[in-house]
């Protein structure tokens, strides 16, 4: 099997994932807390309430997403390096470790539940991704050749 030279090395992918997840969290946090701050503010102060809620909470959501993304990517790279194989199981195992690692301060029950939930969720995502790929793939058609002329 030949090496895939289109991929970046792991540290760059981890940074990339951390940044991507952080940005996604900040954008989602802006929308979520903007609406929440707007709705929870009195009339006349709604715009100000939305802005202050975004300023207070959106970076926190972004940070949470970023930590999850960075940790998941780190675990994914580590699992890939240990197994020396790239398949759907890497993401499931990495999700298990990420969920567990993030919940470890909450006690053993919280760690167990979080690890299993995260692994199952990632397994579902992988399965859906594979299904979509198969669904979107073009069906292979047999080539059509012109009829051969009759020979005498």
């Amino acid at each position: 099997m030949s090496a895939d030279h289109t991929r970046d090395p792991c540290p760059i992918v981890i940074l990339n994932d951390f940044g991507g997840a952080f940005s996604m969290g900040v954008i989602g946090g802006c929308v979520w807390h903007g609406i929440k701050g707007f709705r929870n503010s009195p009339y006349g102060e709604r715009g100000y309430g939305a802005i202050s809620a975004i300023k207070a909470r959106a970076p926190v959501v972004g940070g949470n997403f970023g930590v999850w993304g960075g940790l998941f990517s780190t675990f994914d790279c580590s699992v890939k390096a240990v197994r020396k194989r790239e398949d759907a199981w890497n993401a499931v195992i990495a999700g298990f470790f990420t969920g567990g690692a993030l919940a470890i301060r909450g006690g053993w029950r919280h760690t167990r539940n979080s690890a299993i939930t995260c692994a199952c969720l990632l397994g579902v995502f992988e399965g859906v991704g594979m299904m979509m790929q198969r669904f979107m793939a073009q069906p292979t058609m047999a080539p059509q050749y012109p009829d051969q002329p009759l020979t005498a």
Binding site: M1, I14, G20, T74, K84, E86, A88, A91, G107, H110
Partner: protein, 96 residues
């Protein structure tokens, strides 16, 4: 490609080529991460709460604390092993 994006758009399964497995920055990062994580798990930081640094034994029973510390020791071992591999890769690149 991003590891998160590859969850939603998985690439076909394959074994890693030896040239990919000998990635110096990847091995170094894994080594540092494993040693750091192991040290964290071996400390009392995952179990303590509040300013008084008290441990809630209902949430963190002794068997759990010992298991976490055991995982920490395994992680430090993995980190040391991978650090040895970093040395091997550097040696190969310099002298072979």
């Amino acid at each position: 490609m991003s590891n998160i994006l590859s969850v939603f758009n998985p690439s076909p399964s394959r074994d890693l080529a030896p040239s990919e497995a000998d990635c110096l920055p990847c091995t170094l990062i894994q080594s540092v991460f494993a040693i750091g994580g192991g040290i964290y798990l071996n400390s009392s930081l995952p179990f303590t709460e509040g300013k008084e640094n008290k441990i809630d034994f209902k949430k963190h029973p002794l068997w759990w604390q010992k298991s976490v510390r055991g995982i920490g020791i395994l992680l430090i071992g993995l980190g040391a092993y991978r650090f040895g591999e970093v040395g091997q890769i550097v040696y190969k690149k310099k002298f072979e």
